[in-house]
């Protein structure tokens, strides 16, 4: 033991030296740890962190925008921080805000931003736009702007895109079945007829694929002329137990339980509708613009988009899917982050993103340009997305909407696949509570 202590004593100065160096390094690191942004200087550009969700194509497109922005503003450098999905995005934002290190700017869906706005976590962009030399809201579609006005007031975030729910169609399957492609739209009854004709369950081919979720059900409800909730501004309950909302719910459930035109539970678990469409085994798929980059890799068959179906004698309406740039409140980097948002929202910025195929531009001029309406790649009828803008509707933007939607989706999925009865589903949907925003 003494020998150990002697040798330990002999080593002590070295240990002390190493410890001192470590402490010094930690102190220096602590003082210079990269925060949301470093102070600007001639030599070192200020770094702005953009948090977003999306696949590789989307990330690449935003990286291209960031590179173009840096070329214009060498004093600012944008770092893209991409996560796979919206759940991960929310988790990252929560930990970032709680830890005092939120991203300088983030992209979020209109169905998710309400909970941030309700807690005062956002720097509203309205006052920034009012003094901007670059952004004029008259250049943007009004529908996504409305969706990002929390409580109908000032604009909380600046919409980047204005996607909507459409029906993707496998043109080869339609041709093989001798059916006309419903480019002018179709009603629910025609949809069932067409989907039934296109379904060959023994071969694993189905007429229609959809997620049994509230955002798919919502436009079906609206198409009947009814509302999804009792009050769009301050909802207290879903109205799916009323008529004609119940018809819309039954129509959705009947697609699987009665008409059997959608992949049943087992088939959907084995291979999701997205993959089934890619494989050429699904004639129609309800989804938003998100599918386009992946579907453009299809070489085995031709595909296109057609409008979302409407109720018999009902209204032409579809679901808004829109993401916007949001700025956290109280950051020193707001000006720098806003400069990037401004650039990304100009014609050059939105053109880069439109060319990726992933987004439907929120700017009217870019949406009407060849960057979006490309003739060389599908979908040929991309105009459907633009026509939809006139008829899109949004779900409420309240703090509790995210939670209600999640719980409703679980119930709808269980009912769609026959795990619970319709009555049980309606009862559970009826009991969903909307917590007050405050």
């Amino acid at each position: 033991m003494d020998g150990d202590m002697t040798s330990a004593a002999a080593r002590r100065p070295a240990v002390r030296g190493a410890a001192s160096a470590l402490v010094a390094a930690l102190v220096v690191a602590g003082c210079t740890a990269p925060g949301p942004a470093t102070s600007a200087s001639d030599a070192v550009p200020t770094t702005i962190r953009l948090l977003m969700f999306g696949g590789p194509e989307e990330r690449a497109a935003y990286q291209e925008v960031a590179t173009a922005f840096h070329a214009q503003r060498p004093d600012l450098n944008v770092v893209i921080d991409a996560v796979a999905g919206q759940d991960e995005l929310l988790a990252r934002l929560t930990t970032g805000f709680a830890g005092g290190n939120p991203p300088d700017v983030f992209l979020v869906n209109f169905r998710r931003y309400g909970q941030f706005a309700a807690l005062g976590a956002l720097q509203p962009v309205q006052p920034l736009i009012e003094v901007s030399d670059v952004i004029d809201l008259a250049d943007f579609f009004e529908e996504p702007l409305t969706a990002f006005r929390y409580d109908g007031g000032d604009l909380s975030c600046l919409p980047q895109n204005v996607s909507s729910l459409v029906t993707y169609v496998n043109l080869d399957l339609f041709e093989a079945a001798g059916l006309d492609v419903p480019f002018d739209g179709l009603d629910w009854n025609t949809l069932v007829e067409v989907a039934t004709a296109l379904t060959d369950a023994d071969s694993g081919v189905y007429g229609l694929g959809t997620s049994p979720s509230l955002v798919r059900l919502a436009p079906l409800v609206w198409s009947t002329g009814a509302e999804l909730v009792d009050d769009m501004v301050a909802p207290t309950r879903l109205t799916l137990d009323d008529f004609p909302q119940r018809d819309a719910l039954d129509f959705l459930l009947d697609l699987n339980l009665v008409h059997e035109v959608t992949p049943p539970d087992l088939a959907e678990q084995a291979r999701g509708s997205h993959d089934r469409f890619l494989d050429g085994d699904l004639a129609m798929l309800w989804s938003s613009r998100i599918e386009v980059p992946t579907f453009r890799t299809i070489t085995d068959f031709a595909w296109d988009v057609v409008p979302f179906p409407i109720a018999p004698g009902g209204r032409d309406v579809t679901m808004l899917h829109s993401d916007a740039f949001c700025l956290p409140a109280g950051l020193d980097t707001t000006d720098a982050a806003w400069a990037f948002v401004e650039f990304a929202s100009t014609v050059p910025g939105q053109t880069i993103l439109a060319e990726s195929g992933r987004t439907v531009p929120s700017r009217i001029d870019v949406a009407a340009s060849a960057a979006f309406l490309r003739n060389d790649v599908p979908p040929t009828h991309a105009q459907v997305f633009l026509d939809n803008i006139q008829v899109v509707r949004a779900t409420p933007s309240t703090a509790s909407w995210n939670e209600v939607e999640r719980r409703a989706d679980d119930i709808l999925e269980a009912a769609f696949y026959g795990r619970i009865s319709r009555e049980d589903a309606r009862a559970r949907l009826r009991e969903l509570s909307f917590a007050p925003d405050s």
């Binding site: 202590m5 330990a8 759940d87 929310l90 988790a91 934002l93 929560t94 930990t95 805000f97 709680a98 909970q115 941030f116 807690l119 005062g120 976590a121 539970d265 087992l266 088939a267 959907e268 678990q269 084995a270 291979r271 995210n402 939670e403 999640r406 719980r407 679980d410 999925e413 269980a414 696949y417 795990r419 619970i420 009991e431």
Partner: protein, 287 residues
């Protein structure tokens, strides 16, 4: 303080600091948040028992507690039995046992997410090997992740893979047992089964009791990744384990206060279960 004491304090210092900073402070904060309306963005104010009242009315709290308890009831005995069986079977220095022991331990070093992806493939109702084997023997396999019990069983089966730590502990305990006990048993004509029942299991019973306590804690508290990757809490909340519910509230709905209260509730339930196990083990003389 003696020189040895100072050296001990220096060595233990980082660990103690880690426990205080990474465990003690968060626990104290959780205890405070549990009775506030703290969010991810706004400081909380004391709200008394509001979170308790909300939890009492929240149907998902009961569903999540049921899911967690069923999961623990399924996985703890299975994991313990599997670890014990493998350890006892592979304890002898027979040829090939070394490789087999490594194979049993190997899944424990894989990330949970990798195991979850493996389970997604293995339990695919149409293309997966599990239903493939069932089909080969004339049984129609279930829609694993589409039915409540299918999902519970599939996740429990997945949790059977990372048993390396318990396996090593039992293996070490078995190999440390006095060989003369077995020699005496064999001389008395005991069969291998009798040796197992009357020598091996009683000797390692205290250890198994300890492992059961440890696994109960793990099963109740460390199951977020498989539940998220495989089922996202479904179907019909069958795998909405309590930690998943806590994560949803704290990190997706920003309700730190309510999430902290649920964390406290899980801590109390876990402590009660562990206490029950400890009392039972003590009554049997295992602890």
């Amino acid at each position: 303080m003696t020189r040895w004491g100072a050296r001990s304090a220096l060595l233990a210092g980082p660990f103690i600091l880690g426990v205080v900073v990474l465990l003690g402070v968060p626990m104290l904060l959780t205890g405070w948040y549990a009775f506030t309306n703290q969010t991810a963005f706004t400081p909380g104010t004391f709200t008394g028992l509001d979170n308790l009242r909300q939890a009492w009315r929240d149907p998902l709290v009961g569903a999540a507690m049921r899911a967690s308890l069923v999961h623990a009831l399924l996985t703890v005995p299975l994991r313990l039995a599997a670890a014990t069986a493998f350890a006892l079977a592979l304890a002898s220095p027979r040829r090939g046992n070394r490789i087999a022991r490594a194979a049993v331990y190997l899944p424990s070093v894989l990330p949970d997410l990798s195991l979850a992806l493996l389970a997604l493939w293995a339990f695919n109702p149409v293309f997966g090997p599990v239903n493939g084997v069932l089909r080969a023997i004339g049984v129609t396999g279930p829609n694993w992740f589409g039915s409540p019990w299918g999902a519970r069983v599939a996740i429990a089966a997945m949790m059977l893979l990372p048993i390396g730590e318990a396996f090593l502990v039992v293996l070490a305990a078995r190999r440390s047992l006095d060989p003369s006990l077995y020699d005496a048993g064999r001389i008395d004509g005991a069969s291998p089964r009798q040796l197992l029942r009357h020598i091996t299991l009683p000797q390692i019973a205290p250890l198994l009791a300890l492992l059961a306590v440890r696994d109960t804690i793990l099963s109740l508290q460390v199951n977020v990744v498989p539940a998220y990757a495989l089922t996202d809490g479904g179907p019909d909340s069958a795998t909405l384990f309590f930690p998943v519910l806590i994560f949803d509230h704290a990190f997706e709905l920003f309700r730190f206060g309510y999430g902290a209260f649920l964390t406290l509730a899980l801590l109390v339930v876990t402590a009660l279960l562990v206490l029950g196990q400890a009392l039972f083990a003590r009554s049997r003389g295992w602890l």
